[in-house]
């Protein structure tokens, strides 16, 4: 495997009216656990069901109902922890976080404040070839998701659906290691990619299955280095938390706006108040969520309905033994084994399906050529049609077959592109389709020589010109290819034309 070493990126600097400022960002990512049933009940987690149909009496908090933990959700959290090179806590426990809201029928969320299941880990966030930020993970805990309120179905009422209530969430908490909006978005993208590789969260941000709370503060250049040296937060500015964002673009916009807002306050001689804020994408600004502030006293206490969660090292080891290859390792392997570029390796490993597709095309073939065809022809075509790799009309075996025809010299690169189009629309075996359509490059030198001789004989004036200026030999190559209906192998024609003209 290639040993990839990285340099840390420069922090983003915002010029204020008085002096420069830097950003410090920490994130809490809420990732919905991929599972069939909820964290503490046997109700389904399926998205888009009839309202309140995926709800058990546990989920709607009927008196006397008791939570029973879904062991698979625990395994998913452990798998995620292992994927982030994190410490797995064999002892963890559940606490109640108390607050009132219509989408929380229990009046508390079962979470893990004091003893989370996963401890410290790390994520490598690549920003450019050779440049990456190593983001420290503080913890991951398991908790229940809340229900969903809909506010636009009635002028005076909110409608509440408990289908999502009690679905397992992993809250992944980072240290304040991110230094700019682009880094924050890249961190979310990387985490999402890892979770999808692991199969522990589908990463669907549109459905709210991955959402981010972003903590933003600003400081003077040099302060952050003092914080890193001492781990003393006193060197950093007061932070604000922007809640519940599910778009990479909004995350960046919100951080940028929030940093500038804080800088304006500080340069005006004011103080940033620590608070929870909401990003309004329509107005492009963040605003205070005062109601949330008032309810901030969560009065956590250990949930008396649940014993501590004790897991065994053997069980963790079993999960570790079944871990898939993760993005960083896959990328390094693609570069080493297939000789693809850093950029191409990123594109090919972005999604697991695409990486698998590439590998079956590249197996036993020229890796770079396979990468070019998969990225430029296939991905390009899929993007144009709005299709995913799972929906591709050209299979890996078919694309491989086209590449084999190029490699054996049977068809030219130009013919291969035509053949790709035919396979895309009509399907079929590339070798058979090429044969049936007479797509065959003439490499038979005898046939090419005859064609060259004819063209030379018919154009004595051109021959004289070409002898004076060898660059004009290209005209003969073009004529020969045209005369053979585009089937002559250009490399062979070049050679023969040069020989015949005595160049």
């Amino acid at each position: 495997m290639l040993d990839l070493t990285y340099e840390a990126p420069k922090p983003k600097v915002i010029a204020g009216a008085k002096h420069d400022w830097e950003l410090v960002i920490g994130m809490e990512i809420h990732a919905q656990v991929s599972s069939n049933a909820k964290l503490f009940s046997g109700a389904s987690t399926a998205f888009g069901a009839e309202p309140n149909s995926n709800v058990s009496f546990v989920d709607c908090a009927m008196p006397g109902m008791l939570p029973v933990i879904n062991e698979f959700c625990v395994a998913q959290a452990v798998r995620t922890g292992l994927g982030l090179k994190a410490r797995i806590n064999l002892f963890s426990a559940f606490d109640r976080k108390n607050y009132f809201y219509p989408d929380l029928p229990q009046g508390y969320q079962i979470s893990q404040l004091y003893h989370p299941i996963v401890g410290e880990g790390e994520v490598l966030v690549e920003l450019a070839p050779g440049i990456a930020r190593l983001v420290r993970i503080e913890r991951i805990h398991l908790e229940q998701d809340a229900g969903k309120s809909i506010h636009d179905m009635d002028p005076n009422l909110s409608f509440v659906d408990f289908n999502r209530t009690g679905v397992a969430l992993m809250e992944i908490v980072s240290r304040p290691d991110l230094r700019g909006p682009e880094e924050a978005a890249a961190y979310v993208a990387k985490l999402r990619q890892i979770l999808r590789y692991l199969g522990t969260c589908d990463g669907n941000m549109q459905n709210g299955n991955l959402r981010a709370d972003v903590n933003v503060s600003v400081c003077r250049p040099g302060d952050y280095e003092r914080y890193q040296a001492t781990q003393d937060f006193g060197h950093l500015g007061t932070r604000c938390e922007i809640k519940n964002m599910n778009s990479m673009r909004f995350i960046q916009q919100a951080i940028d706006y929030e940093a500038r807002r804080q800088i304006a306050i500080l340069e005006d001689g004011g103080k940033v108040v620590q608070e929870t804020r909401l990003y309004d994408p329509d107005r492009g600004e963040t605003r205070s969520m005062r109601s949330k502030e008032e309810a901030h006293d969560y009065r956590y206490f250990p949930d008396p309905d649940l014993l501590p969660l004790e897991i065994e090292q053997d069980w963790v080891d079993d999960i570790a033994a079944s871990m898939p290859e993760l993005p960083d390792a896959k990328k390094a392997r693609f570069m080493a084994d297939y000789g693809v570029t850093d950029y191409d390796a990123n594109v090919l490993t972005a999604e697991l399906d695409a990486a698998a597709f590439f590998e079956s095309v590249a197996a036993g073939r020229d890796g770079k050529q396979a990468a070019n065809w998969v990225i430029n022809e296939l991905f390009g075509r899929l993007n144009k049609q709005g299709l995913t790799i799972a929906e591709t009309p050209v299979t890996a075996a078919q694309l491989g077959g086209i590449l084999d025809l190029i490699a054996s010299g049977e068809i030219s690169g130009k013919m291969a592109k035509d053949l790709f189009e035919i396979i895309w629309t009509d399907g079929g075996d590339p070798a058979e389709v090429a044969a049936a359509r007479g797509m065959k490059q003439v490499t038979d030198t005898g046939a090419i020589e005859v064609a060259v001789d004819e063209i030379i004989a018919a154009n004595p004036a051109q021959v004289e010109k070409a002898k004076a200026n060898p660059k004009l030999a290209g005209w003969f190559v073009g004529q020969v290819i045209k005369a053979t209906g585009g089937k002559a192998n250009p490399a062979a024609v070049n050679e023969i034309v040069a020989k015949k003209l005595g160049l």
Binding site: P51, V58, S158, A295
Partner: protein
């Protein structure tokens, strides 16, 4: 530690329990009494002792990841003061 009237009012509000102004002093007194009993317990030295979570040694019970429950919208909504189109309908709450 003693609970003053203001703290009693706040605790009642957080728990969404309506307490008449006249009852707050008595409530604060009761809560203070409970807390001072806790303070007595705090005098016991428990250093190095694991918190007891169960009187018998028990492992947290687990369930398999199988859908075994749900699909009873009618029953789930049957106690709701107001329900419409499959949703609980509550007074408007908007951030």
């Amino acid at each position: 530690m003693s609970i003053d009237i203001e703290t009693a009012r706040r605790v009642a509000h957080l728990a969404r329990i309506r307490v008449d102004e006249a009852d707050l002093p008595a409530l604060a007194g009761e809560l203070s009494g409970i807390l001072s009993f806790m303070e007595q317990l705090n005098e016991v030295d428990v250093t190095g002792i694991e918190p007891m979570t169960s009187v018998t040694p028990m492992r947290l019970k687990r369930r398999e990841d199988v859908v075994t429950d749900g699909n009873m919208q009618q029953q789930v909504l049957s106690n709701a003061p107001d329900a419409r189109e499959g949703f609980f309908a509550v007074p408007k709450v908007v951030e």
